[in-house]
């Protein structure tokens, strides 16, 4: 299955929120919808869920108009909340029933997801007796209790501690492996980079980048190389060596905060010089090398590059 957002426009009053937004997500891969606060991430998700309609454009599933009520969907809204004074188990069963499960399946799934999230002993407790982080997990259980085919998570990582973030990451990976369509939004780029195959970068209502992370990174020049020398050999000789080869590359000290950084350089290759050739120069000159890798731009740097301002 492929869920496709096609040329969507949306404005509230005179304020244009989305301008010609297009992206797609397929079964068995996670799509990260990235952007700053107010970029339009939640709006596009709400349009997919048909809380309101786009002014223009369409949402398609396998080239047919997508109606959320006809599919099994798990949606984690940006606004978190359930009935604070009602028992957790009954709320989850209620939601599963609403999503079309039989009473029996609803109960089984509720128990299953509470166990998966390590909250099985909270079944009959009231929601407001739980900690914020655990309430957040209940919210996730509420979204996934129907074992949905299409999962849409709005900022799923906000409010989770590192341990729970890993738990969520594993759950998302499982969902992807099970062949579900997973779309989630985030402004925490480091999480996204770890398990997202594809991203759509939203800035001020327009998609500035939509591709696989691999392709995006490949499209950036890879002529910056990080080189770290093993032993505190004569640092001056290294500097001299670097200066001698100024025709081949420019070098910069990586920093001076740690001992390792003192012996590390970021070297920008000049035209016609390959990474292999540079490495060979060091080896031939008998320098011992500890670390040698191409510096890829981080998602954050890519975003700054594309959006023109920092996150």
């Amino acid at each position: 299955m492929t869920l496709e957002v096609k040329n969507v426009y949306k404005s509230f009053g005179t304020k244009g929120v989305l301008k010609d937004v297009s992206f797609s997500a397929s079964s068995g891969s996670a799509l990260g919808l990235l952007g700053r606060n107010g970029a339009g991430k939640t709006t596009i998700m709400r349009i997919i869920m048909r809380f309101f309609n786009a002014d223009e454009g369409s949402i398609l599933l396998d080239n047919k108009t997508f109606y959320p009520e006809n599919y099994s969907i798990g949606y984690l809204p940006e606004e978190r909340g359930l009935y604070p004074k009602k028992p957790i188990g009954s709320q989850l069963i209620y939601l599963a029933r609403l999503k079309g499960l039989s009473t029996k399946d609803a109960k089984a799934n509720t128990v299953k997801w509470l166990e998966r999230l390590g909250l099985e002993d909270q079944f009959s407790k009231k929601l407001n007796t739980l900690s914020k982080g655990n309430q957040q997990k209940i919210q996730l259980a509420a979204s996934l209790v129907n074992d949905p085919d299409i999962v849409i998570l709005d900022e799923p990582f906000s409010g989770l501690d590192p341990v729970n973030a890993v738990l969520l990451k594993n759950i998302v990976k499982e969902l992807v492996d099970d062949g579900k369509i997973v779309i989630f939004s985030s402004h925490q780029m480091n999480y996204v980079e770890e398990f997202c195959d594809r991203i759509a970068l939203l800035n001020r209502g327009t998609i500035v980048l939509h591709d696989s992370i691999f392709n995006i990174k490949k499209s950036y020049p890879n002529d910056n190389v990080f080189v770290s020398f093993t032993k505190p050999q004569n640092i001056e000789s290294i500097k001299n060596f670097v200066d001698d080869h100024v025709m081949s590359f420019e070098a910069q000290k990586a920093g001076a905060n740690t001992e390792k950084e003192a012996y590390s350089f970021i070297m920008k290759l000049k035209d016609d010089v390959s990474k292999d050739a540079m490495l060979r120069m060091f080896v031939d000159a008998n320098y011992e090398i500890d670390d040698f890798h191409v510096i890829e731009p981080t998602l954050e740097e890519i975003f700054v590059d594309k959006a023109g301002d920092a996150i």
Binding site: F51, G81, L82, G100, A142
Partner: protein, 422 residues
Amino acid sequence: MIKKRDWEQFKTIFSYEYMGILKNKVYLITTIIIMVVIAVVLTTPTVIGMFKSEDIPGDEPGTDPVGTDKLKVAVINNSGVHIEEVLNLSLPNYDFIAEDSNLDELKDKVNKEEYYAALVMSKPLEFDLYVKDYVITNTLTQQIASVLEYNYKITELQNQGVSLEEIQRILASTVKSNLIELGKSAEQTFLYAYILLMFLYIAVNLYGQLVATSVATEKSSRAMELLISSAKPLNFMFGKILGSGTAGLTQLVAIMGVSFGFYKINESTWSKYPLVTSLFDMPADVLFYTILFFLLGFFLYAFIYGAVGSLVSRIEDVNTSILPVTFLYMAGFLVSMVNLVNPKGIVVRVFSFIPFFSPMCMFLRIIMTSVPMWEIALSIAILIATILLTGYIAAKIYRVGVLMYGKPPKIKELIKVLRTKE
């Protein structure tokens, strides 16, 4: 067309809401307290009757102060007629004493409660009566007036040469009359009309506001977005409104059932009180109309309350936002209450066709007067049409309102919402 999925969702929401209210502690406790109070009130006289033997008759409390001590009434008599003796004979509960002191002194004595009252007669058929605190049940003025009147008539007729026997025969003559009501007896219906109107007013308000609060709670606890991603907003609105309405009906039936049951148990005690028996012997059609107008009134107002609730962001704002709606309903209630004594008045007749007031005003007319069938049908038809229209508008507002946070929308924006198509 109602799809199967919608029906399933509606049923799930309906039973969740209904059971939610039924399991609610406040609801349970309130219902039980009301039922216990009714049971106790209906049973108490029987229990008292068991301990007390039949010494009750004749113990009817009078409207005048009774007791061994006679109440002293000072009389300043400038009429030229000697009346004190006649008054003392005719009104044995009072002691009329002639006084020569001036009025101001007497007023002072009445204030100090040395005298119960001061009677000042200037002419044979004219008097002023001074009392300290006027009690509405006090009939002394009328009693004195009738004694004076009777005495005057006898004296005047005697002066004309009519014999005392003849006078007494003439004055004692009365007209025997029978009022046969072909329609409904206002006397009988008054009490239960009063009680049922009260009941309708409270029940519709209570359960309507419950809908508003319940919607606003879902919004303020931010559960709404998750909920409407799980089921259609319309199913939520109808499930919630019908759930609350059914919970209301359950309470109503339970309370009515307990009242009727305990009345039956204690029927022999209550049969002496026609006012009470009239309440429980109410015709079946009154019961039918009570439930019908409860449901119609409830749905009309529940839709409005639901829509208003969906526009509120914080639970604290519910009360102020629903105030105009409550006032609207209160207007119908007040019109019907004021016209309890005049159920045939033109105001009630007009109001009984205006949908926002008809649940109370038409109900009042039906139980207290004989309303032509076509008028009832027309009123109900207008009401149902209004409910459908209100439901349609409320559903549109609800759909948009539930996801709107921040300050409540202006009327202009609401109209724009109503104009947009699905």
